[in-house]
Symmetry: C2
Subunit: 134 residues, 2 copies
DNA sequence: GTAAATAGGACTCATAAGGTCGGAGTTACA
DNA sequence: TGTAACTCCGACCTTATGAGTCCTATTTAC
């Protein structure tokens, strides 16, 4: 199945929500969770990952929350996916984990055509910025 | 994670292998399994699905096997994926299972941009025919 | 000090993927 | 006509991954 994980979906919704705020205005995880009916704990984890990757900045303590760390035009969807998944995406394992990860790599006859599709998808996610989906 | 399943990978490798044979020459599942070091039983399942979908024809009994049922130019990669997965692929659940399958569909803010990526991927798989990967 | 927020590890549960097994049906050929 | 060599088909098991929960620590405004 070729499908984005819930974490990525939640992350995209969340960071888009944060991006709609004016700079300096913080957004709490609870606010986002309530707004979109997303499980709070799961969302919190996703936000932590985005924060650690430097896409958003977190502020702890009372009246804390999250703000966007970069200009929306500088944040691509693939950066968001990469931050959440930890790895770059690939439609076949050998494309992300290297040739050794696939038992049939040497005799595989489809990696060449599939890598074209892969590049196609990567382009789509690379060229789509946060600014475009706000 | 956005990734093709092993079943789809095996199916693509197998049907490509079958397509390299001249018409009328049958290929057994065992031959393919040996050739690419693919688990035989799993491959057999995949071939059955391709057969039921009419992409290949099966011939039972001794000296039986599989042959291509259509012209390679008439078989797209998305047809192969559809035959094996049973459903069309979609990077989000709501795109394959309908709006009701997603709890946040109504308030979801990313379905519009994602559907563009979806269309992009679909095009890539639709336009890639078996003839091109042989 | 306390309330409100993030940080993060540990855990359970559900689902899907990968793989296995056994038996039934079909056909060529001795 | 019997048997070997095949495919067909459904049920099953195992493992990996994703989704979601729980609990505690840490930080900070008031």
């Amino acid at each position: 199945m070729v499908r984005l994980s819930k974490r990525v979906e939640y992350g995209l919704i969340a960071i888009r929500h944060i991006a709609t705020r004016t700079r300096g205005d913080v957004v709490t995880a609870k606010e986002i969770a309530d707004c979109y009916r997303i499980p709070y704990e799961l969302l919190a984890k996703v936000l932590q990952k985005l924060s650690r990757s430097g896409l958003i900045t977190s502020q702890q303590g009372m009246r804390g929350g999250y703000t966007l760390a970069k200009n929306p035009t500088e944040v691509s969807v693939s950066m968001i996916i990469g931050a959440i998944e930890g790895t770059n995406m690939g439609i076949a394992r050998c494309m992300t984990d290297g040739p050794d990860s696939c038992e049939v790599f040497k005799v595989c006859t489809i990696k060449s055509p599939l890598s074209k599709v892969q590049a196609n998808i990567e382009d789509a996610f690379n060229n789509m910025t946060l600014a475009q989906i706000v």
